[in-house]
């Protein structure tokens, strides 16, 4: 299930609900991304996030379908904020459930790589001196490329 929302959410509540949805699974992996209060170049006062509906939702749906094809997951959940956030607010929550842990770890990792590099969002770090649009780091792109390498190797 996917939620893209301008409203604050609580990661612990999301895990509580997901655990009910995933009842019977042996393994649940979650990722929570939070607004940091510092960046490499100083203080961060907030984060502003834009999405483009329904393109954003469509892309995330496709990533979820791809994860389901690749791993025997029994439940998947993505919550992603838009709008204005303060330091320590959750930005994103990804949960994956499976019988065994490897599938849950890899599906959550894969979905986060998608969200960081391909999902249709734009992210601006607000600082005392203005702000800065954050585009994926080289590391984000190489993390994401891991999954297509696997495809090639398997082919």
């Amino acid at each position: 299930m996917i939620t893209i929302t301008p409203h604050p959410f609580n990661a612990a509540e999301a895990l509580e609900a997901f655990q009910k949805e995933a009842r019977g699974a042996g393994a649940i992996v979650t990722f929570t991304g939070l607004v940091r209060d510092t960046a490499s170049d100083g203080d961060v006062t907030g984060l502003h996030l834009q999405a483009y509906s329904p393109m954003t939702e469509r892309g995330v749906e496709k990533a979820i379908a791809e994860a389901r094809k690749r791993w025997p997951v029994t439940a998947l959940r993505i919550i992603h904020r838009t709008g204005d956030m303060a330091p320590f607010d959750p930005i994103v929550f990804v949960a994956a459930a499976s019988a065994h842990r490897r599938a849950a770890f890899e599906a959550a990792d894969f979905l986060m790589d998608y969200l960081k590099t391909e999902a249709v969002f734009w992210k601006k770090e607000l600082t005392p001196t203005g702000g800065r649009w954050i585009e994926p780091r080289a590391e984000d792109y190489s993390d994401s490329a891991r999954w297509s390498q696997t495809d090639t190797e398997k082919a």
């Binding site: 991304g33 996030l49 834009q50 999405a51 483009y52 329904p54 393109m55 992603h80 930005i91 994103v92 986060m112 969200l115 960081k116 590099t117 391909e118 999902a119 249709v120 969002f121 734009w122 992210k123 601006k124 702000g131 649009w133 954050i134 585009e135 994926p136 984000d140």
Partner: protein, 82 residues
Amino acid sequence: MADILYFGRLSDVTGKDSEKLDIPAAITDTAALRRWLDEEKSADGAFLDKSVRLAINNEIVVDPHPVSRSDEIAFMPPVGGG
């Protein structure tokens, strides 16, 4: 009127997230639209940047792609959430 959407750094360049624009009849494709808007907005090349993709009616297109005066046209710098 076309709906023009400015995402990411382009919303800073234009000072807005979106606007309705009357695209001149002479502008018939995305390449021409980029040049026209870059000049209109004194954007100093921000609209010409190859890393900025265009979407028409919620579908990403490759330059040059025909534009119609009633399209929703989005300027999309490199994406990334999380």
